[in-house]
Amino acid sequence: MSKSVVISNARIVDPATDRDSPGAILVEKGKIAGLTNGAPQGIPDGAEHYDAGGMVVAPGLIDMRVFTGEPGHEYRETLQSAAAAAAAGGVTSFVLMPDTTPVIDDGALVDFLLRRAGATASVNILPAAAITRGLRGEEITEFGLLKEAGAVALTDGRHSIQSAALLRSAFSYAANFDLPVIHHVAEQSLVGEGVMNEGTLATVSGLKGIPIEAETIPLARDLQLAALTGVRYHAAQISTGAAVELIAAAKRRNRSISAGISINNLALNENDVAPYRTFYKLSPPLRSEDDRQAVIEGLKSGAIDTIHSAHDPQDSEVKRQPFAEASDGAVGLETLLAAALRLHHSGDVPLLTLLRAMTSRPAEILGLKSGRLAIGAPADIIIVDVDFPWVVKERELRSRSRNTAFEGARMQGAVMHTFVAGKPVFSHSATREGAAA
């Protein structure tokens, strides 16, 4: 049984209750047992005491989109290394994408993942199961059995189902078991051989472009099918202003839809790609600055619900390639919070809004008890110095793969302590002694 913990002198930021005020937290038996304004009401015997020194104390982050290499590509990332990266980034729970070898499309594999995670990982790993067998977009998987095995959601991960009829069936059947469906929208025939945002930069670089309609056309289809079937639908990751408009309009009629965005699409734009920097080759692609501004507005207005890292470890073999031939994806668990805080420091998005998109909203969408600082909730807590300056260095990343889109980036804000169920799983001073100076 974990020790009691007291965190005092905290700036408690809890998006679930819109709280941003001084206070203290008492943790007992892995759960939040006490919340006070001001000083704690005594410190129990044997409790570990953390003086937050006025720093932000918030719920641990819930990342809706993380890929690892386990099983099948452990050299890229294991559950253990992903969890270590997550803990360092303040992520206390993440949804694990089923794009592994084998694909997570069977209850036994969900069970395997949960047991592996329990044995090796320091944060909560929430497996998502495939919507279709082998992610082939042809036959649906056993949603009911997958849910019983512990899958928190259904998704085809990187893949986008092209058949409207199959989606309709999958949405209906998922609604039957009340499982959320997380779908990456990409119209394959419009993506074609595209590798970056369509427009001047792609044309000048001689690269095939991906038009925004490759996102909006399937999104419009999904939103209509979601209304038809009543499924809990989450657009996995949108990247365009036009998609924000579609989501906002649909939300006025349908309360069971939500949308996520990768931190990369909030923090970066297509100009970062030039010339042929494959670490910025992402799916969806980095869009224009106009689209980036539009998705920031979408986040503030509530059209976009969640921010995720889109953590996608890829080794240099598949990344150091000609642009069109390189794999998509970047790691992001360790930079998610710091990159998001850029929007706070720039004055674009309030801190509570940013944290809500990484704590209470994902928890609501997934039906989790975590993601809030409430008595009885799991003590998944982070202490954050929102002003701490640091520079991203790929060699210091804990992930087994180093394909970061933020190499050399100057960040402001770092996690000082991470607790999962009251247990300290990361401490900044312990791991970065000397390196931080």
Binding site: E198, G199, T200, L201, A202, T203, V204, S205, G206, L207, K208, G209, P211, P275, Y276, E317, R320, Q321, P322, F323, A324, E325, A326
Partner: protein
């Protein structure tokens, strides 16, 4: 500004020329106007060498040149090979035939392997945009881009400019219409960059399906009507249509394409009476160009091939001999 007479660059002038400051030639985008003129002048000075009995100017004697072609191209590869040999270099051809999936894997490996053989210059053609630049980062010698994806083909643009200059005497102020598959053409991109830098008025002429979004960054004049696009042009530059790829998707048929965008005498009559006709080859006669035009008096297509050798000699000499002299 530009000179026309091949005799205009004396050896003394050539000796006083500032050294070429680039290590690689990856694209026209890296060159400024003065460097372009410099390369064209150097190329012009190379023309007589290929026309004399003993075609040798051994400035690259003892140097090793590797032609690394991931895509087949008889004419460009031969042109680079002959250019290198006329400068006295030892030339090795490597044709790397791979599946598109395996291509990238071999690229970095191949670069490392070739680098270990200590070549002085590697000439690279690759199907992926940016691949040549990537390879240049992995080797210790000069790299010349012989075409990367739909990105750049700098020596083609230089040889086209030299051909135009030989015929018109100058570049600035001319109007050049580039016609055909703009979307997939590295030749179009390099030419638009080069001609733009030289104050040439450029136009692109193509059906909308073959015009990429954002082309306005490279030229403001976009025409879908070929007759309007050719009106008053000094130069008509045709591009090869990859009709196997385009048919049924980008264009309905070769018949319709030829009807609206194939260069025939009637359409050419809209250009200036002394307009010249160019094509980077290999031509699809009867697809983008009427054979009578391709082989007619206004065609300078064979001269382009000749200028190609001169331009490649000049680029090799600028990259290798100059660097040696500067070292």
């Amino acid at each position: 500004m530009a000179t026309s007479s091949p005799a205009s660059v004396t050896p003394a002038q050539a000796a006083s020329r500032p050294p070429f400051r680039h290590r690689h030639l990856l694209g026209i985008s890296q060159l400024n106007q003065y460097e372009i003129v410099d390369l064209l002048d150097r190329a012009e000075a190379m023309i007589p060498i290929s026309r004399q009995e003993r075609k040798i100017l051994p400035t690259l004697a003892g140097k090793t040149q590797i032609n690394l072609f991931f895509e087949n191209s008889t004419r460009t590869q031969s042109s680079f090979e002959i250019a290198g040999k006329r400068l006295g270099a030892q030339v090795t051809n490597m044709s790397v035939k791979t599946s598109s999936v395996a291509k990238g894997e071999t690229l970095i490996d191949t670069a490392a392997t070739l680098n270990a053989m200590r070549p002085d210059v590697i000439i690279v053609r690759h199907g992926a945009s940016g691949a040549v630049e990537l390879l240049s980062q992995k080797v210790g010698c000069s790299v010349i881009n012989a075409g990367d994806g739909a990105h750049e083909h700098p020596t083609q643009a230089l040889l086209d400019a030299l051909t135009i200059r030989q015929h018109k005497g100058y570049l600035a102020g001319l109007t050049v219409a580039i016609c055909g598959d703009i979307a997939n053409s590295r030749v179009a991109r390099s030419n638009l960059l080069l001609l733009g830098a030289m104050q040439v008025r450029t136009r692109v002429v193509a059906p909308r399906t073959l015009i990429p979004r954002g082309i306005e960054a490279l030229t403001p004049e976009v025409y879908t009507d070929m007759r309007k696009g050719l009106e008053g042009a000094d130069v008509v530059m045709m591009l090869r249509l990859q009709h196997e790829r385009a048919s049924g998707r980008m264009i309905p048929s070769i018949r319709e394409y030829y009807h609206f965008y194939g260069l025939d005498a009637e359409k050419l009559s809209y250009a200036k009476p002394d307009a010249i006709v160019m094509h980077p080859g290999p031509m699809n006669r009867g697809v983008e160009i009427d054979p009578a035009i391709a082989d007619g008096p206004r065609s300078v297509i064979n001269e382009q091939v000749e200028m190609g050798v001169a331009v490649r000699m000049a680029v090799l000499d600028a990259l290798l001999a100059d660097r040696e002299a500067a070292a």
